[in-house]
Protein backbone atom coordinates (compact mmCIF):
# COMPACT_ATOMS: atom_id res chain seq x y z
CA UNK A 1 0.00 0.00 0.00
CA UNK A 2 2.65 2.53 1.01
CA UNK A 3 4.95 1.60 -1.87
CA UNK A 4 2.04 2.06 -4.26
CA UNK A 5 1.18 5.44 -2.74
CA UNK A 6 4.81 6.48 -3.19
CA UNK A 7 4.76 5.42 -6.86
CA UNK A 8 1.44 7.21 -7.50
CA UNK A 9 2.56 10.40 -5.76
CA UNK A 10 5.84 10.33 -7.66
CA UNK A 11 4.04 10.20 -11.01
CA UNK A 12 1.60 12.88 -9.88
CA UNK A 13 4.52 15.14 -8.97
CA UNK A 14 6.08 14.44 -12.36
CA UNK A 15 2.75 15.36 -13.97
CA UNK A 16 2.42 18.58 -11.95
CA UNK A 17 5.95 19.54 -12.96
CA UNK A 18 5.34 18.98 -16.68
CA UNK A 19 1.95 20.72 -16.42
CA UNK A 20 3.60 23.87 -15.03
CA UNK A 21 6.58 23.71 -17.41
CA UNK A 22 4.47 23.22 -20.55
CA UNK A 23 1.69 25.66 -19.62
CA UNK A 24 -0.86 23.16 -20.97
CA UNK A 25 -4.38 23.40 -19.50
CA UNK A 26 -4.07 19.77 -18.37
CA UNK A 27 -3.83 19.04 -14.64
CA UNK A 28 -0.86 17.22 -13.16
CA UNK A 29 -2.67 14.03 -12.09
CA UNK A 30 -3.96 13.44 -15.64
CA UNK A 31 -0.45 13.85 -17.07
CA UNK A 32 0.84 11.65 -14.25
CA UNK A 33 -1.60 8.95 -15.35
CA UNK A 34 -0.26 9.16 -18.91
CA UNK A 35 3.34 8.83 -17.65
CA UNK A 36 2.49 5.87 -15.40
CA UNK A 37 0.64 4.24 -18.30
CA UNK A 38 3.69 4.54 -20.56
CA UNK A 39 5.93 3.25 -17.76
CA UNK A 40 3.66 0.23 -17.24
CA UNK A 41 3.85 -0.60 -20.95
CA UNK A 42 7.65 -0.38 -20.92
CA UNK A 43 8.02 -2.24 -17.62
CA UNK A 44 5.00 -4.55 -17.08
CA UNK A 45 6.56 -6.10 -13.97
CA UNK A 46 5.84 -2.88 -12.03
CA UNK A 47 2.15 -3.74 -12.36
CA UNK A 48 2.48 -6.78 -10.05
CA UNK A 49 3.68 -4.59 -7.20
CA UNK A 50 1.09 -1.84 -7.44
CA UNK A 51 -1.98 -3.39 -9.13
CA UNK A 52 -3.87 -4.66 -6.07
CA UNK A 53 -3.55 -1.54 -3.88
CA UNK A 54 -4.14 0.75 -6.87
CA UNK A 55 -7.39 -0.98 -7.70
CA UNK A 56 -8.42 -0.89 -4.05
CA UNK A 57 -7.86 2.87 -4.08
CA UNK A 58 -10.03 3.20 -7.20
CA UNK A 59 -12.85 1.30 -5.51
CA UNK A 60 -12.90 3.94 -2.73
CA UNK A 61 -12.85 6.88 -5.12
CA UNK A 62 -16.38 8.06 -4.22
CA UNK A 63 -15.37 9.35 -0.79
CA UNK A 64 -12.73 11.64 -2.30
CA UNK A 65 -15.38 13.75 -4.03
CA UNK A 66 -17.37 14.46 -0.87
CA UNK A 67 -15.30 17.34 0.59
CA UNK A 68 -15.34 19.40 -2.63
CA UNK A 69 -19.07 18.70 -3.12
CA UNK A 70 -19.80 19.95 0.39
CA UNK A 71 -18.34 23.24 -0.89
CA UNK A 72 -21.65 23.81 -2.67
CA UNK A 73 -22.74 25.40 0.62
CA UNK A 74 -20.40 28.33 -0.08
CA UNK A 75 -21.58 28.98 -3.67
CA UNK A 76 -25.23 29.19 -2.73
CA UNK A 77 -25.38 33.00 -2.80
CA UNK A 78 -23.38 33.23 -6.05
CA UNK A 79 -26.17 31.53 -7.95
CA UNK A 80 -29.02 33.81 -6.86
CA UNK A 81 -31.94 33.30 -9.22
CA UNK A 82 -29.96 31.19 -11.68
CA UNK A 83 -30.63 27.80 -10.15
CA UNK A 84 -33.24 26.88 -12.73
CA UNK A 85 -30.91 27.65 -15.67
CA UNK A 86 -28.15 25.68 -13.98
CA UNK A 87 -30.25 22.60 -13.28
CA UNK A 88 -32.05 22.51 -16.65
CA UNK A 89 -28.82 23.06 -18.61
CA UNK A 90 -27.06 20.25 -16.74
CA UNK A 91 -29.95 17.80 -17.08
CA UNK A 92 -30.57 18.36 -20.80
CA UNK A 93 -26.90 18.48 -21.74
CA UNK A 94 -25.91 15.39 -19.75
CA UNK A 95 -28.72 13.27 -21.18
CA UNK A 96 -28.04 14.52 -24.73
CA UNK A 97 -24.29 13.87 -24.55
CA UNK A 98 -24.83 10.37 -23.15
CA UNK A 99 -27.44 9.44 -25.74
CA UNK A 100 -25.64 10.87 -28.79
CA UNK A 101 -22.22 9.51 -27.77
CA UNK A 102 -23.58 6.03 -26.95
CA UNK A 103 -25.59 5.78 -30.18
CA UNK A 104 -22.62 6.87 -32.29
CA UNK A 105 -20.39 4.28 -30.59
CA UNK A 106 -22.99 1.57 -31.10
CA UNK A 107 -23.44 2.44 -34.76
CA UNK A 108 -19.68 2.27 -35.42
CA UNK A 109 -19.36 -1.00 -33.46
CA UNK A 110 -22.22 -2.60 -35.42
CA UNK A 111 -20.71 -1.50 -38.72
CA UNK A 112 -17.33 -2.97 -37.76
CA UNK A 113 -18.98 -6.22 -36.69
CA UNK A 114 -20.86 -6.41 -39.96
CA UNK A 115 -17.66 -5.84 -41.93
CA UNK A 116 -15.88 -8.58 -39.98
CA UNK A 117 -18.85 -10.87 -40.54
CA UNK A 118 -18.95 -10.19 -44.28
CA UNK A 119 -15.24 -10.86 -44.58
CA UNK A 120 -15.70 -14.24 -42.87
CA UNK A 121 -18.39 -15.09 -45.36
CA UNK A 122 -16.17 -14.23 -48.30
CA UNK A 123 -13.30 -16.47 -47.21
CA UNK A 124 -14.92 -19.88 -48.03
CA UNK A 125 -15.80 -18.61 -51.52
CA UNK A 126 -12.21 -17.75 -52.19
CA UNK A 127 -11.10 -21.19 -51.16
Amino acid sequence: MLLTLAVLCFFQALGEWVSVLSGLPIPGPVLGMVFLFITLLLEPRLSHHIAAPAEKLLKSMMIMFIPVCVGIMTSYTLLKGQWLALVVAIVISTVLAMVVGALVMQKVMKRLEKQAHDRQKVVPDVE
Binding site: Q12, I26, S47, K59, T74, V88, T94, M105, V108, M109
Partner: protein, 239 residues
Amino acid sequence: MLNEFWLPFTKTPLFGILLTLLVYALVAWLAKKSRFHPLVNPVALSVALIVPFLVYTNVAYEDYMVGAQYISFLLGPATVALAVPLARQLEHVKKAWLPLVCGLLAGSLVAVLSVVLVAALLGAEDVLIISLAPKSATMPIAMGVSEKLGGLASLAAVGVMGTGVFGVMTARYIFKIIHIESPEIRGFMLGLTAHGIGVARGFQISNEIGTFAGLGMSLNGLLTAFLVPVVVAMHFFLF
Protein backbone atom coordinates in the same frame (compact mmCIF):
# COMPACT_ATOMS: atom_id res chain seq x y z
CA MET B 1 -18.74 22.10 29.11
CA LEU B 2 -19.39 20.52 25.78
CA ASN B 3 -18.26 23.71 24.08
CA GLU B 4 -14.89 23.51 25.77
CA PHE B 5 -14.24 20.37 23.82
CA TRP B 6 -16.41 20.93 20.76
CA LEU B 7 -15.29 24.36 19.50
CA PRO B 8 -11.54 23.63 19.45
CA PHE B 9 -12.28 20.13 18.13
CA THR B 10 -14.07 21.47 15.04
CA LYS B 11 -10.89 23.37 14.15
CA THR B 12 -8.66 20.28 14.18
CA PRO B 13 -8.04 18.02 11.14
CA LEU B 14 -9.60 15.13 13.03
CA PHE B 15 -13.06 16.74 12.81
CA GLY B 16 -13.36 16.90 9.01
CA ILE B 17 -11.73 13.51 8.51
CA LEU B 18 -13.87 11.76 11.11
CA LEU B 19 -17.12 13.38 9.95
CA THR B 20 -16.48 12.42 6.31
CA LEU B 21 -15.44 8.86 7.19
CA LEU B 22 -18.40 8.27 9.51
CA VAL B 23 -20.96 9.64 7.07
CA TYR B 24 -19.34 7.73 4.20
CA ALA B 25 -19.35 4.49 6.21
CA LEU B 26 -23.07 4.95 6.77
CA VAL B 27 -23.97 5.74 3.15
CA ALA B 28 -21.63 3.05 1.79
CA TRP B 29 -23.49 0.56 3.96
CA LEU B 30 -26.79 1.87 2.58
CA ALA B 31 -25.47 1.64 -1.00
CA LYS B 32 -24.39 -1.96 -0.42
CA LYS B 33 -27.76 -2.81 1.14
CA SER B 34 -29.46 -1.43 -1.97
CA ARG B 35 -27.11 -3.60 -4.10
CA PHE B 36 -25.51 -0.42 -5.47
CA HIS B 37 -28.72 0.99 -6.84
CA PRO B 38 -27.80 4.09 -8.92
CA LEU B 39 -30.18 6.35 -7.01
CA VAL B 40 -28.45 5.52 -3.72
CA ASN B 41 -25.43 7.64 -4.65
CA PRO B 42 -22.87 7.92 -1.83
CA VAL B 43 -21.66 11.38 -2.89
CA ALA B 44 -25.14 12.92 -3.07
CA LEU B 45 -26.27 11.30 0.17
CA SER B 46 -23.13 12.33 2.05
CA VAL B 47 -23.46 15.94 0.93
CA ALA B 48 -27.12 15.90 1.93
CA LEU B 49 -26.08 14.81 5.44
CA ILE B 50 -22.88 16.82 5.95
CA VAL B 51 -24.09 20.24 4.73
CA PRO B 52 -27.09 20.44 7.11
CA PHE B 53 -24.89 19.14 9.92
CA LEU B 54 -22.29 21.88 9.37
CA VAL B 55 -24.98 24.55 9.05
CA TYR B 56 -26.78 23.34 12.18
CA THR B 57 -23.63 23.13 14.30
CA ASN B 58 -22.37 26.43 12.89
CA VAL B 59 -19.08 25.07 11.54
CA ALA B 60 -17.59 26.96 8.58
CA TYR B 61 -16.67 25.09 5.39
CA GLU B 62 -13.05 26.21 5.86
CA ASP B 63 -12.94 24.53 9.28
CA TYR B 64 -14.39 21.32 7.83
CA MET B 65 -11.78 21.41 5.06
CA VAL B 66 -8.89 21.60 7.57
CA GLY B 67 -9.27 17.83 7.83
CA ALA B 68 -11.35 16.95 4.79
CA GLN B 69 -8.65 18.27 2.44
CA TYR B 70 -6.61 15.14 3.17
CA ILE B 71 -9.43 13.03 1.78
CA SER B 72 -9.66 15.28 -1.31
CA PHE B 73 -5.92 15.02 -1.72
CA LEU B 74 -6.22 11.31 -2.49
CA LEU B 75 -8.01 12.18 -5.75
CA GLY B 76 -4.64 13.03 -7.30
CA PRO B 77 -2.97 9.65 -6.67
CA ALA B 78 -6.28 7.90 -7.51
CA THR B 79 -6.36 9.63 -10.91
CA VAL B 80 -2.79 8.49 -11.56
CA ALA B 81 -3.83 4.97 -10.50
CA LEU B 82 -6.29 4.82 -13.42
CA ALA B 83 -3.26 3.92 -15.56
CA VAL B 84 -3.12 0.49 -13.89
CA PRO B 85 -6.43 -1.00 -15.12
CA LEU B 86 -5.93 0.84 -18.41
CA ALA B 87 -2.58 -0.89 -19.04
CA ARG B 88 -4.12 -4.21 -18.01
CA GLN B 89 -7.00 -3.93 -20.43
CA LEU B 90 -4.96 -2.40 -23.25
CA GLU B 91 -5.78 -5.19 -25.75
CA HIS B 92 -9.47 -4.77 -25.02
CA VAL B 93 -9.23 -0.99 -25.50
CA LYS B 94 -7.17 -1.31 -28.69
CA LYS B 95 -9.83 -3.47 -30.28
CA ALA B 96 -12.47 -0.80 -29.74
CA TRP B 97 -10.38 2.23 -30.71
CA LEU B 98 -12.51 3.42 -33.63
CA PRO B 99 -15.87 3.40 -31.80
CA LEU B 100 -14.13 5.02 -28.83
CA VAL B 101 -12.75 7.89 -30.92
CA CYS B 102 -16.13 8.46 -32.63
CA GLY B 103 -17.99 8.35 -29.31
CA LEU B 104 -15.46 10.74 -27.78
CA LEU B 105 -15.85 13.35 -30.53
CA ALA B 106 -19.65 13.13 -30.55
CA GLY B 107 -20.12 13.04 -26.78
CA SER B 108 -17.60 15.77 -26.02
CA LEU B 109 -18.96 18.17 -28.62
CA VAL B 110 -22.57 17.64 -27.60
CA ALA B 111 -21.74 18.03 -23.90
CA VAL B 112 -20.03 21.41 -24.33
CA LEU B 113 -22.28 22.85 -27.07
CA SER B 114 -25.60 21.88 -25.51
CA VAL B 115 -24.87 23.18 -22.03
CA VAL B 116 -23.74 26.57 -23.38
CA LEU B 117 -26.76 26.79 -25.68
CA VAL B 118 -29.38 25.79 -23.08
CA ALA B 119 -27.91 28.02 -20.37
CA ALA B 120 -27.77 30.97 -22.79
CA LEU B 121 -31.37 30.41 -23.91
CA LEU B 122 -32.51 30.34 -20.28
CA GLY B 123 -30.88 33.70 -19.68
CA ALA B 124 -27.95 32.63 -17.52
CA GLU B 125 -25.26 35.25 -16.96
CA ASP B 126 -22.03 34.91 -18.94
CA VAL B 127 -20.07 34.01 -15.80
CA LEU B 128 -22.35 31.02 -15.23
CA ILE B 129 -22.23 29.96 -18.89
CA ILE B 130 -18.43 29.99 -18.95
CA SER B 131 -18.29 28.15 -15.63
CA LEU B 132 -20.70 25.48 -16.86
CA ALA B 133 -19.15 24.88 -20.30
CA PRO B 134 -16.56 22.32 -19.11
CA LYS B 135 -19.04 20.60 -16.75
CA SER B 136 -18.36 17.07 -18.05
CA ALA B 137 -14.60 17.38 -17.61
CA THR B 138 -12.76 16.22 -14.53
CA MET B 139 -12.79 18.81 -11.70
CA PRO B 140 -9.26 20.27 -11.99
CA ILE B 141 -9.56 20.67 -15.78
CA ALA B 142 -13.01 22.26 -15.53
CA MET B 143 -11.95 24.68 -12.80
CA GLY B 144 -8.74 25.67 -14.58
CA VAL B 145 -10.33 26.16 -17.99
CA SER B 146 -13.33 28.18 -16.81
CA GLU B 147 -11.18 30.42 -14.61
CA LYS B 148 -8.84 31.15 -17.51
CA LEU B 149 -11.82 32.28 -19.62
CA GLY B 150 -13.41 34.49 -16.94
CA GLY B 151 -15.64 31.99 -15.13
CA LEU B 152 -15.61 31.17 -11.42
CA ALA B 153 -13.90 28.06 -10.11
CA SER B 154 -16.51 27.57 -7.38
CA LEU B 155 -19.38 27.78 -9.88
CA ALA B 156 -17.54 25.37 -12.18
CA ALA B 157 -17.23 22.98 -9.24
CA VAL B 158 -20.99 23.13 -8.64
CA GLY B 159 -21.64 22.39 -12.34
CA VAL B 160 -19.15 19.52 -12.44
CA MET B 161 -20.53 17.95 -9.28
CA GLY B 162 -24.16 18.32 -10.33
CA THR B 163 -23.35 16.75 -13.69
CA GLY B 164 -21.47 13.84 -12.13
CA VAL B 165 -24.13 13.01 -9.58
CA PHE B 166 -27.01 13.41 -12.05
CA GLY B 167 -25.14 11.38 -14.67
CA VAL B 168 -24.47 8.35 -12.49
CA MET B 169 -27.98 8.40 -11.06
CA THR B 170 -29.68 8.33 -14.45
CA ALA B 171 -27.20 6.48 -16.72
CA ARG B 172 -28.72 3.03 -16.16
CA TYR B 173 -32.18 4.24 -17.17
CA ILE B 174 -30.94 6.20 -20.18
CA PHE B 175 -28.99 3.20 -21.52
CA LYS B 176 -32.01 1.00 -20.98
CA ILE B 177 -34.30 3.32 -22.96
CA ILE B 178 -31.92 3.51 -25.94
CA HIS B 179 -31.02 -0.22 -25.69
CA ILE B 180 -27.31 0.01 -24.97
CA GLU B 181 -25.96 -3.14 -23.34
CA SER B 182 -22.26 -3.23 -24.23
CA PRO B 183 -20.13 -2.61 -21.11
CA GLU B 184 -17.56 -0.77 -23.25
CA ILE B 185 -20.11 1.86 -24.34
CA ARG B 186 -21.74 2.11 -20.91
CA GLY B 187 -18.41 2.58 -19.17
CA PHE B 188 -16.94 4.97 -21.70
CA MET B 189 -20.00 7.25 -21.80
CA LEU B 190 -20.31 7.16 -18.01
CA GLY B 191 -16.76 8.49 -17.64
CA LEU B 192 -17.11 10.90 -20.55
CA THR B 193 -20.23 12.62 -19.21
CA ALA B 194 -19.93 12.10 -15.45
CA HIS B 195 -16.07 12.26 -15.12
CA GLY B 196 -14.59 10.96 -11.86
CA ILE B 197 -17.93 10.28 -10.19
CA GLY B 198 -18.81 8.17 -13.23
CA VAL B 199 -15.49 6.33 -12.88
CA ALA B 200 -16.10 5.71 -9.19
CA ARG B 201 -19.57 4.41 -10.06
CA GLY B 202 -18.07 2.25 -12.84
CA PHE B 203 -15.67 0.52 -10.45
CA GLN B 204 -18.65 -0.11 -8.14
CA ILE B 205 -20.17 -2.20 -10.93
CA SER B 206 -17.15 -3.94 -12.50
CA ASN B 207 -13.47 -3.46 -13.31
CA GLU B 208 -14.26 -3.46 -17.02
CA ILE B 209 -16.84 -0.67 -16.82
CA GLY B 210 -14.56 1.26 -14.48
CA THR B 211 -11.62 0.99 -16.88
CA PHE B 212 -13.60 2.26 -19.85
CA ALA B 213 -15.04 5.02 -17.66
CA GLY B 214 -11.50 6.04 -16.70
CA LEU B 215 -10.59 6.17 -20.36
CA GLY B 216 -13.69 8.25 -21.17
CA MET B 217 -12.95 10.66 -18.34
CA SER B 218 -9.31 11.19 -19.33
CA LEU B 219 -9.90 11.60 -23.07
CA ASN B 220 -12.88 13.88 -22.55
CA GLY B 221 -10.92 15.95 -20.04
CA LEU B 222 -8.15 16.52 -22.57
CA LEU B 223 -10.53 17.30 -25.44
CA THR B 224 -12.74 19.59 -23.32
CA ALA B 225 -9.71 21.68 -22.35
CA PHE B 226 -9.28 22.53 -26.03
CA LEU B 227 -12.98 22.65 -27.04
CA VAL B 228 -14.30 25.01 -24.36
CA PRO B 229 -12.28 28.10 -25.39
CA VAL B 230 -13.55 27.68 -28.98
CA VAL B 231 -17.19 27.21 -27.96
CA VAL B 232 -17.11 30.12 -25.52
CA ALA B 233 -15.63 32.38 -28.24
CA MET B 234 -18.46 31.23 -30.53
CA HIS B 235 -21.01 32.05 -27.83
CA PHE B 236 -19.73 35.63 -27.49
CA PHE B 237 -19.77 36.00 -31.25
CA LEU B 238 -23.39 34.83 -31.55
CA PHE B 239 -25.05 36.37 -28.48
